[in-house]
């Protein structure tokens, strides 16, 4: 990024994700009036059962390089968008905890909406990140591990 007021950051983070400080990072360029944020939080139920906790595991090296690639794709596809940030959590989480945060800022709202959506869809489908869900019954399983498709390879 050549403009020092814009933001570009993808990170897998073990510590708690601070939504407020991230949204402040997005707001530094006062030419960017349209800001769209997606927060993915751990739900208290899944498949009709009560969730006790989730554990996120990542292949951090590849997740971070692929994550940065996704953000670059979003900037290229939505040229008005100048700032884009995505932080994905790792480790143990409880219902209500922030698992993933995506923010996009653009002079106008349309491209900010589209870029934010593009990033979260790609993050969910392409990053080597897994989650193990433990229900209040004690039962635990790796989400999607058997049902879903492989990552599309480049």
């Amino acid at each position: 990024m050549t403009n020092i007021d814009t933001s570009f950051n993808f990170e897998i983070r073990k510590s708690k994700i601070d939504a407020q400080s991230l949204s402040e990072d997005l707001r530094t360029d006062k030419g960017l009036g349209g800001i769209v944020i997606f927060e993915g939080r751990v739900r208290n139920q899944s498949e009709g059962k009560e969730v006790l906790k989730l554990e996120y595991e990542s292949y951090k090296e590849l997740a971070e390089s692929e994550g940065k690639k996704i953000l670059k794709e979003a900037l290229a596809k939505y040229a008005q968008v100048k700032s884009v940030i995505c932080i994905h959590g790792e480790g143990e989480m409880e219902p209500g905890d922030l698992a993933v945060w995506v923010g996009a800022a653009s002079p106008h709202r349309d491209e900010a909406f589209q870029a934010c959506r593009y990033v979260i869809e790609a993050v969910k489908h392409r990053l080597p990140i897994w989650k193990k869900e433990t229900f209040k019954t004690g039962e635990a399983h790796w989400v999607n591990c058997r049902e879903h498709h492989a990552i599309p390879c480049n």
């Binding site: 990542s58 692929e66 979260i120 969910k124 080597p128 897994w130 989650k131 058997r146």
Partner: protein, 86 residues
């Protein structure tokens, strides 16, 4: 006697369900497998992995790779179970 396949020394990292099925997250092995697919089949057979190759992706040296890619001596290989980020 046929020519001996070259032995390559590699690292394999395991994540999520494969890590649990293997019981460890990193191992160094010697293999004569030529492609990544051959290597997975060899390991899946040895450790009774429950996931079929066609439900996995694969990486070599922290880059996504194709199943038919040759194994490079000294590389690090990861078999990537279906993902569930977000």
């Amino acid at each position: 006697m046929s020519a001996q396949a070259p032995i390559k020394h590699i690292k394999v990292r395991y994540f999520a369900l494969l890590r649990e099925e293997r019981g460890l997250d990193l191992e160094e092995i010697d293999t004569t497998a030529h492609t990544l697919e051959q290597l997975y089949k060899e390991l899946a057979n040895r450790y009774r992995f429950s996931l079929e190759a066609n439900s996995l992706a694969v990486s070599q040296d922290d880059n996504f790779a194709a199943w038919g890619d040759s194994i490079k001596d000294g590389s690090t290989i990861v078999f990537i179970p279906p993902v569930a980020g977000g």
